[in-house]
């Protein structure tokens, strides 16, 4: 592909926490990935950007071992996901925290119990310690006061912040965020953005952030991938991407419907369909 510049892969193989190599994946025969290469280096914030429906969430599902690649390798913490047994997969998942696109809070538990859930499931900490831990994380996302609310009583943005508190409560080595900024007001957005940066700076947590918010993510990402049509079309630091003369990158950064990235889901010819004529 000619517009895959600027690409920089200075990453020595050893410090790659996630290594996705030449992955092919299809759903119901429709290819989602065709030769995807993504590397996430330890201690950095890596952004994965791309138009809606390109498979960003699918990539995260591959990384967390919910689905397996048809071809190619996905390795996490130096181990091939496909080779892991259930016990090893669970052990690997304990080292990461994930923020789901829609929060995915457990609806029958309070906000407090949702954040406490991973702690209770994985440790035998005494109650006062759990309380401290949970309240600290809720304070960090500004929702300590909402501890006794049920998820149904939260707005979408609040639910996302609670989900973030839950993702970080076990102090994972790696955090995966699926669209953390969608539906947040500018203040919460700033808070979450700083929180991601802070956890990365202070605790050295490796972060993978999936987002369409090109400009927000550019302020914190060390390295970005732009995915379109099943493969990486551009990667590099935010500055490198901004200076890119690739049409794809340019279209995505400026948000134009016209360009190499198709805005439309594959469909029959518009005029033909409007006229009600089936294509022979």
């Amino acid at each position: 592909m000619d517009d895959s510049q600027p690409t920089s892969h200075p990453a020595p193989e050893t410090d790659a926490v996630i290594d996705v190599r030449d992955v092919h994946y299809a759903i119901d025969g429709r290819p989602i990935f065709a030769g995807l290469d993504v590397r996430v280096r330890r201690g950095l914030i890596t952004a994965v950007m791309g138009p809606s429906g390109t498979g960003k969430t699918t990539l995260l599902r591959l990384i967390t071992g919910q689905i397996y690649a048809d071809r190619g390798q996905v390795s996490v913490f130096g181990r091939e996901v496909a080779d892991m047994g259930r016990a090893e997969l669970f052990a690997t998942r304990r080292r990461m925290g994930m923020l789901f696109q829609n929060g995915a809070l457990l609806t029958d538990l309070t906000v407090f119990e949702n954040v406490a859930f991973p702690v209770r499931e994985r440790t035998n900490l005494p109650e006062p310690l759990i309380r401290n831990l949970v309240l600290t994380k809720l304070e960090a996302v500004g929702l300590r006061g909402a501890a006794q609310l049920m998820p149904a009583e939260l707005s979408g943005g609040m639910a996302r912040r609670v989900a973030l508190a839950r993702a970080i409560v076990m102090d994972p080595e790696m955090l995966i965020y699926d669209e953390p900024f969608v539906g947040l007001d500018p203040i919460s957005l700033g808070v979450i953005l700083r929180l991601i940066k802070q956890m990365n700076d202070a605790l050295g947590i490796t972060s993978v952030v999936v987002s369409h918010d090109v400009h927000e993510i550019a302020t914190i990402a060390d390295h970005s991938y732009l995915i379109s049509e099943g493969r990486v079309v551009a990667s590099g630091s935010p500055a490198q991407l901004a200076e890119s003369d690739s049409a794809t990158v340019h279209q995505f950064m400026t948000g134009s419907a016209e360009g190499p990235v198709r805005f439309h889901y594959p469909a029959a010819d518009y005029a033909t369909e409007l006229l009600g004529v089936e294509k022979g």
Binding site: R93, N102, D108, E121
Partner: protein
Amino acid sequence: MSNGSRQGVLEALRKAGVTALFFGRLLAACVPALARPRLIIAQIYNAGARSLIIIMLSGLFTGMVLGLQGYDLLQRFGATSALGTAAALSLLKELGPVLTALLFAGRAGTALTSEIGLMRATDQLTAMEVMAVDPMRHVAAPRFLGGLIALPLLTAIFIVIGLYGAQLVGVQMMGVDHGIFWSQMQSAIALKDVTEGVVKSVVFGAVLSLIAVNEGYHADPTAEGVGRATTRTVVASSVMTLLLDYVLTAAFL
């Protein structure tokens, strides 16, 4: 065999296979789930305590109808003294287990299916997986065990209240002798009759809970998908209850 019906048979076999596999996984998950009795107790409460009112009301009216109909029938033969026995036998062996099961399917089974289906649709089950918590162990098994334990308990309550209802009509309203009503019942009912009721209610508890949990767990992760799964739970539960009732009755004769 036509092509369409062959497809239908294959599909039914496939579903049966999937359910059987799920049942195996569920049983395997029940063992570690026993280490968390609090989750199971919460589900006994959900499936049991919340169905209590409807079970008690239905039991009372079923018993009262038995009292009326039984009296009407028996007095034609001059045998109203057998009213207690007749009511107890019908409640213990048939009406108790079957009606409780049908009510359970409508009240608790649908709630189970839609709850688990919605958890699937809102990524809650996936979130547990990613948090390294097995949803089979944490969600499915406690609900299965809760239903399995709750249904026999509800059946027992249904029968007791039903007997009270029969007594209310037969003895208080129709004037059957109080002492004869109870003593006839006591001497005529054998342990085997009680066992039949217990076995039926336990089997119904297992099958209905399995159906409800299975449908919820495999529901399409959408609002319509959950709705369809809930309907399937009621239909499959009702048919299975009546079918198994016949099989078990035949087995006990």
